[in-house]
């Protein structure tokens, strides 16, 4: 494919040669430039600001502050929230994907896929409102249950807590999981299952030794995405709890909206940097696991 040398057969000068080689890259420069400008530059600016005090001098102070008190607590809460939401959604989403794959109706499958696409992407506010409307103190479901003599709020349930948030987050994370896992589940071949049973595998053996390992790469990848998604989510938590639960994105949001103590202007950037680090760490963990589970793939 590489075309070198001019049509005349002369050996081109080295400069010209290099230019030829590089020419194809010109086509993606606009894209790269766009990404750098609108994603790279802001991210880099956060990282840089995290190490600066308001006067622009280098300091560890911001990071130091970011890892204390409420900020530290918000990291704990955020991690707890995303781990639970991602874990539960990964399991539930995979089970749902298998159930959908088992269904004989292709219309159901297509509808479910479309619905998943919507629910996974338009979480945000409508979601918070929908749950307030159903499971809030005066929600429809709450009232129905109360009418039946079992008011969940009298039994320790509260929508505006971490548990509530997990329930709500699953609403958009499970569909995301379904979107990723449905094709993976459908690519599990019947022959694998049958070959396993003939070799003596019970249903659960076949799942454990053949099905789950075959799904593992997608399962891991998707779980990581879920975790990051939950970790970074802002809208739902903000609308649902009005900042009552300290979560990192909410903290940063509060700081952005100007509720800053003097001398702590850049603590938000430090929190942002810490978020990036958490995401990077989970990506790294994912990459290591992936090397083990996806060894067999091309």
């Amino acid at each position: 494919m590489r075309r070198t040398g001019a049509a005349s057969g002369q050996v081109p000068r080295r400069g010209a040669l290099r230019l030829r080689r590089l020419a194809p890259f010109a086509g993606i420069v606009p894209f790269l430039a766009y990404l750098v400008l609108f994603l790279g530059v802001p991210s880099a600016s956060v990282v840089a600001a995290a190490f600066e005090d308001p006067q622009g001098r280098l300091t560890w102070g911001n990071l130091h502050l970011a890892l204390q008190g409420t900020y530290l607590l918000s990291f704990e809460k955020s991690l707890e929230l995303s781990a639970w939401s991602a874990g539960i959604s990964a399991v539930a989403g995979t089970i749902l994907a298998v159930a959908l794959a088992s269904s004989t109706s292709s219309t159901l499958k297509r509808l479910a896929t479309s619905a998943s696409a919507v629910f996974a992407n338009t979480g945000g506010l409508p979601l918070a409102f929908a749950f307030i409307a159903s499971l809030g103190n005066f929600g429809v479901v709450t009232r129905v249950l109360a009418g039946l003599g079992w008011n969940p709020y009298d039994h320790g349930f509260d929508l505006y807590t971490l548990t509530g948030l997990v329930i709500v987050y699953c609403y958009f994370l499970v569909p995301l999981m379904v979107l990723v896992m449905l094709p993976a589940v459908e690519s599990l071949r019947r022959e694998w299952f049958e070959a396993a049973s003939i070799l003596g595998a019970r249903r659960r053996d076949a799942w454990r030794h053949v099905g789950v390992p075959a799904l593992a790469p997608q399962l891991l990848a998707a779980t990581m995405v879920l975790f990051v998604d939950a970790f970074a989510a802002y809208a739902t938590a903000e609308a649902l709890t009005n900042g009552a639960i300290p979560l990192v994105p909410i903290q940063i949001g509060t700081l952005i909206q100007g509720n800053v103590l003097a001398g702590q202007q850049n603590v938000g950037d430090a929190l942002g940097l810490a978020m990036i680090l958490v995401v990077a760490a989970s990506a790294l963990a994912y990459a290591r696991l992936q090397r083990r589970t996806a060894r067999w793939q091309r």
Binding site: R189, E191, W192, E194, A195, A196, S197, I198, L199, G200, A201, R202, D205, H209, V210, P213, A214, A216, R295, W296, Q297, R298
Partner: protein, 372 residues
Amino acid sequence: MTGTIVEQATTLFDQDAAGARRGVRVELVDCVRYFGSVAALDHLSLAIEPGELVALLGPSGCGKTTALRALAGLEQLDGGMVRIRDVDVTRVPTHRRELGMVFQAYSLFPSMTAIDNVGFGLRLRKVRAAARRRRAGELLELVGLSAQAGRFPHELSGGQQQRVALARALAVEPRVLLLDEPLSALDAKVRAQLRDEIRRIQLEVGITTLFVTHDQEEALSIADRLGVMAHGRLEQIGTPDEVYARPGNAFVASFVGSVSSLPGTAVPGGMVEVLGRRIGLRPEQDVFLPGSAVHVLLRPESFAVRADPLGRGIVLRRSFLGPVMRLAVALPGEVEVEVSLEAARAGEIGAGSAVSVEPLGPPLFVTGRDDA
């Protein structure tokens, strides 16, 4: 080379002190299976003797796969019974039937290496890792893939994958080996080679085997006995030469091997007249009243063919099959026959040549004809 493999095989698979085959008897008894209104199995009965390789042959959709899957317990029966070693296993689930099976393709577990695939059945049987690896290694050697033990399925060719599948099926010392068109996804050369190898290994191991195929050459060359199926029924079962030479009915006659069907008339003395000549019938074929119209089925080799400027046949096509030349010849009355002759004698005969064609008896099969 062969010697070492036989040695391996004898140690790989325990046999009786007497050296008797360890295969068991397998039976499908009056099996019925419907898909909607289609009878995939229509009162099918089939018995496979210990150590025997039975090939099931039939057109696509005739129920071969269903029969094999019923034996494996992968397909439930609407009626009938499956017996292994004289025990009714109809209600025994697949994973407890102790069988081995090779599918058409893509059955290797993608997340396991070749050797782990082969060792899978042993792992389920709680064989310790070291022993498992040893035995799986031996089986890979048996199928000639020791060097590929650490490869994942997608790193193996189609033929190699099928070898691994065979090794995996044999590793657990199954009572019966089931093969469902194991070669049809492979290209011709690999197919012939692997076919012979399957047969070699089957003989060495002495395992009762059901081999399903739609390829008659494959079936004829590999089988101890050949069962021909159509519409969920077994039309005939017998040794390959029996089925080839003495088909039990017109379907079998025309499905196995090439035949030409010619109009003829029964004449007295146990003969039929066809192409103006009389040929003798075998006693069991002599069931037609003299004068009745019949179809006479003849193999290509049952014709004498000569180049003959005055002959009434015109050669339409010729195809070279190594030692013999196959000719398609048009005869008067819109009859087309396939004949063969020694390639050496076919020299000047080509498309368009005039030839004379004479039938040589006895015919392969004779059926009544109502249209005359």
